[in-house]
Amino acid sequence: MRMRTVEIGVGAFMLAGILALVVLVLNVSGLNLSEQTGGYKVYARFDNIGGLTPRAKVAMSGVQIGQVTAIRIDRDMLMAEVEMEIFNDVDYLTTDSSASILTAGLLGEQYIGLVPGAEDEILGSGDYIRDTQSALVLEELIGKFLFNKVSE
């Protein structure tokens, strides 16, 4: 009988450990074990991505509709190329949608904001978003401001 409580206790302990690990993996680190979570890939080129990182959210009107999956340099255009995965149920992004890198709050995370355009055609898998706006880099802004001041 004594041994039985020990066994049950150890079993519950191990189970709690595994459950905690699962919570940590899924809820805290947001790791996607299944890469195909249902979404299509859309690309966009930016002059400067600022502090954008993979797994940043892609939002429309502030609502998340996808996430950034990869960031690399496009060797031909010499620009940053951002690969994003848009959820499958999002079928209203037109081909003339525009993408801009925005910041949530003053010091918050950076994310991509999409604004749909007026075309009838819908963005499909592998398409590029042409109309992009780079991240706001504070140093450049200050530089421009100073330059204007000097030239005045």
Binding site: V6, F13, A20, L24, V28, A104
Partner: protein, 260 residues
Amino acid sequence: MLELLQRLGHKTLSRLAAIGRAGQVLVQSLVAAPQPLVMLPLVLKQIYFVGVLSLVIIVVSGGFIGMVLGLQGYTILVDYGSEQAVGQMVALSLVRELAPVVAALLFAGRAGSALTAEIGLMKATEQLASLEMIGVDPLRRIVAPRLWAGFICMPILAIIFAVVGIWGGSLVAVDWLGIYEGSFWANMQQSVDFYDDVLNGIIKAVCFGVVVTWIAVFEGYDCIPTSEGISQATTRTVVYSSLAVLGLDFILTALMFGEL
């Protein structure tokens, strides 16, 4: 002067010998022919004593540490208008550092001292010697199951500590201070990486588990078999394993996150 040098030399040599004996104990008890049928019930029983009974202190202190982190993080970050980042701060500091380290310190105090006292008392009452008399190797029968139990329990306790701590942090930040739940979790998920943060934290916890249990078991096995000797050994367990955990933590952190 000469006497001082002599004492210093004696101390150094006896420390060296102790380290050697510790290595011997570890190797002899682990590198034995595996006997799963004999070992498994023993290990289970030790996991119960070392792990399951430590759960209460781990859960309670994890919750409170998470809540304090949430509160402190909020009061600092709110000045910069970025209080949503509190989730990121709580999760990263818990997963990377606090969960393995604090859980190991608590583990040393709760379980390590008990292991030392138990084995030390067995030695003082000559139970270990009588085991040897009837042909049972005390290293394999007494020491090995406790070592394995400690190795297994420590990472599990650290993971539970981290999860409870993050829950405590979200309780304070989201439910009491009113940070928007979505950005709390989104910020956290965006910044915590499974391999860099979670896995490295678990590796740390495994290392600490090995070190703490090793020190605890060895100090018990090697103590002077008197009541005074046991009390000294128990003190040494807590002091040495706390120091070892903190020192090792720096080395591991430098290896994992530093540009060395």
